[in-house]
């Protein structure tokens, strides 16, 4: 086992986790989008590193997609949307940042315990990566449920997908089909989200999801 390659991969994955925490910590939309771009960038780096150590050139494509779409295109687009729609710049939180951070810590602990204990036969390499990936996934989910407005929920969802890609890249020799599908789905997801945001803009003054609750079919 090449210790250097392992350490670098470890550092990059750990970096993603760190950035995830940074995202949870953000209270302003623009800052959130920027941190998300950073998240995607670290992901791209991590995937590229995996490509080099696994000698899997197709992973470079994935890294490129991550860099291009998630680090540049999407944050940029979201910036535009926030600007054009005059969305409130503050991230509306359900629970305080501190509590969310604590919960995040717990999730990281949980995923570490799970992955490190369970996957004994897999390479230590994959194990480390998977533990971080699971943490990122869980943190993404946590972000989705602890934020009220739609943009930060979308960001949470995408960071969740970043975790998935990290996991997929970490799995040795996983065929290209997964990467492509992830990219594909993110694309489609984004389009659909865009469509919805547009429509929701048509009908609502805010993309705060709680506003839509009034339109539930069965009135309380």
């Amino acid at each position: 086992m090449n210790t250097l390659s392992f350490d670098v991969a470890h550092m990059l994955a750990g970096g993603m986790l760190l950035v995830s925490f940074m995202m949870i910590y953000q209270t302003r939309l623009y800052a959130l989008l920027n941190v998300f771009a950073l998240h995607a960038m670290v992901l791209a780096l991590s995937v590229a590193w995996q490509a080099s150590i696994q000698h899997a050139p197709h992973l470079y494509v994935t890294a490129g997609i991550a860099l291009f779409f998630k680090a540049i295109l999407i944050p940029g687009a979201l910036h535009k949307i926030v600007q054009r729609m005059g969305i409130h710049r503050q991230v509306e939180q359900v629970v305080g940042t501190g509590a969310t951070m604590l919960a995040g810590m717990g999730l990281v602990a949980l995923s570490s315990v799970l992955m490190l204990n369970l996957t004994a036969t897999a390479s230590a390499f994959a194990r480390e990566d998977m533990a971080f990936a699971l943490s990122v996934v869980l943190l993404g989910l946590l972000m989705m449920i602890s934020r009220r407005n739609a943009v930060s929920q979308v960001v949470g969802f995408m960071s969740l997908e970043n975790g998935l890609i990290l996991a997929a890249a970490g799995a040795q020799g996983m065929p290209l089909v997964v990467e492509i599908s992830v990219a594909f789905s993110v694309l489609v997801a984004f389009i659909v989200i865009g469509v919805f945001l547009f429509r929701i803009r048509e009908r609502f003054d805010s993309v705060d999801l709680s506003v839509m609750d009034d339109y539930r079919g069965e009135k309380r």
Partner: protein, 482 residues
């Protein structure tokens, strides 16, 4: 027997090509009939699977006992729902709820969805399966939101978000399965192919498999509509066009269930894993009981039956979770019967809602008086879905309950409680719908009831007589499921 073509190609190819064609074709009459025709041909192609020699499983496609049942059911209900849709959508166009543009989109999406679901069923690759489910989900999301009312958009949005999270979890589970298989089967495709995974499952790391199954169960379970992952389901059923409700309940849930079953087989093949049974039993029971309770406060007829779908998915998952030849057989039978019955119910509900101009339960009364044929059809459908003989659901519920009681009395009692609660709620509503003084519009229904009759006829037949070959088939599948 061999055919000049591969049915699998047709099953996938026809919907895909038709979808492309429908995107560009104008005119709703033509498109709707093309939709029906394509669905019929797909169904016929699926039927040939019974008669041909099994194609050798490739890295991507697989046809075995288990999925033939699903494929045939899927394409059949796809066809009848398309037929129903043709008459239903015409009326929607008349009253202006839909415009021709959206209608074109609708039919294209219908075939896209069929393509996605068929792909889930015939694929041999867990990655491809994941992609296909994603595709089917996205296309249905768009269909649910097609009316663009605030309620419809909200339902679609909810469906989309919850579905995406579910699908993300499923992907993580898929990756974990690969991770478990990779040390045994080596890197690359092999570690993602069911036919390779299954024989070697015993050597996989059981702990990774456990974790993977948790993610897969939650991920695909979201699509199945298991409580507490069900939240999208009632709204999606209620706010979308009724043919889509029928397809959702009758097909999409089954398709997701099929995915869960595939992975369950993987789990059971490895002796050291956490048994998947108890997990499924618990989720099934929770779904059953919760949905049964929720039925009581429903004031929207389609949401009512959506919750009933959750309830039945709970029953099916419970049955498969219990395992054993009887319960598995019952689970399969119940799944088929539920598909047929529930879609038939949605067919009649669609017409009823169109006549009354409302989906509110309070505004639908005395149907057996004002619309005898439609009303009695609804009565029969609801009685069938509530598990009364001589319909097929009764047989499967009989088998589940009677085979469970000796093995796990407490579970069986809870299960029965759930069934009774659901029964009470459905019957309470049914009494309101079908009897009493009619309210609202009593103009006659110009509905095509053929799909309804076909479905109910099959369900009735199955309740009394199951053909021998079909039984043998189901038994083989039940054995396969362990």
């Amino acid at each position: 027997m061999s055919l000049p073509f591969n049915p699998v190609d047709l099953i996938l190819g026809i919907p895909a090509i038709t979808a492309l064609v429908l995107f560009v074709l104008p005119g709703y009459r033509l498109t709707s009939w093309l939709n029906v025709a394509a669905s019929l041909v797909t169904f016929l192609a699926a039927m040939t699977l019974f008669f041909i020699d099994r194609p050798v499983p490739t890295n991507y496609f697989l046809v075995d006992e288990l999925n033939i049942v699903f494929i045939v059911l899927n394409t059949f209900v796809g066809f009848t729902a398309a037929y129903f849709s043709a008459s239903y959508i015409a009326h929607e166009l008349e009253i202006g709820r839909l415009t021709p543009v959206y209608l074109r989109f609708y039919h294209a999406m219908y075939q896209t969805m069929m393509f996605g679901m068929n792909l889930v069923l015939v694929t041999n690759n867990i990655g491809l399966m994941w992609v296909a489910i994603e595709l089917a989900t996205l296309s249905t999301v768009l269909m649910v939101g097609i009316y663009r009312t605030p309620e419809a958009l909200e339902a679609a949005w909810k469906y989309f978000i919850l579905g995406s999270v579910g699908i993300a979890l499923a992907l993580f589970g898929t990756i974990l399965v690969y991770l478990a298989a990779e040390p045994v089967l080596g890197e690359g495709q092999a570690a993602m192919v069911f036919t390779r995974l299954l024989p070697n499952a015993a050597e996989f790391d059981p702990k990774i498999l456990n974790l993977a199954f948790v993610f897969l169960l939650l991920g695909y379970g979201t699509k199945v509509g298991l409580v507490p992952l069900h939240a999208w389901l009632p709204d999606a059923h209620a706010e979308g066009p009724t043919p889509i409700s029928a397809v959702l309940s009758g097909l999409l849930l089954n398709v997701a269930l099929y995915a869960v079953l595939r992975f369950k087989m993987l789990m059971t093949a490895n002796a050291d894993t956490l048994a998947p049974g108890p997990l499924m039993v618990v989720m099934g029971l929770v779904s059953l009981l919760f949905a049964a309770i929720m039925l009581y406060r429903r004031r929207d007829i389609k949401r009512l039956f959506a919750y009933s779908s959750i309830e039945h998915m709970g029953i099916i998952v419970f049955a498969f979770g219990m395992g054993g030849p009887l319960a598995n057989f019952a689970g399969l039978l119940h799944m088929v019967m539920h598909s047929l019955t529930k879609s038939a119910i949605f067919f009649s509900v669609g017409h009823i809602a169109q006549i009354k101009g409302s989906q509110k339960t309070a505004e639908i009364r005395g149907l057996t008086h004002s619309h005898p044929v439609l009303g009695w059809a609804l009565v029969i459908g609801v009685l069938a879905i509530a598990g009364l003989p001589p319909f097929g659901v009764f047989m499967s519920e009989f088998l589940v309950v009677s085979s469970t009681f000796q093995r796990a009395p407490a579970l069986a009692l809870l299960f029965v409680t759930g069934l009774l609660l659901a029964f009470g709620a459905l019957l309470m509503r049914l009494t309101g719908f079908a009897f009493g003084e009619p309210t609202g519009s009593t103009k006659p229904a110009h509905a095509s009831l053929v799909p309804l009759y076909i479905h109910m006829g099959l369900v009735l037949l199955a309740g009394i007589y199951l053909p021998g070959p079909m039984v043998a088939w189901f038994q083989a599948v039940a054995k396969l499921l362990g």
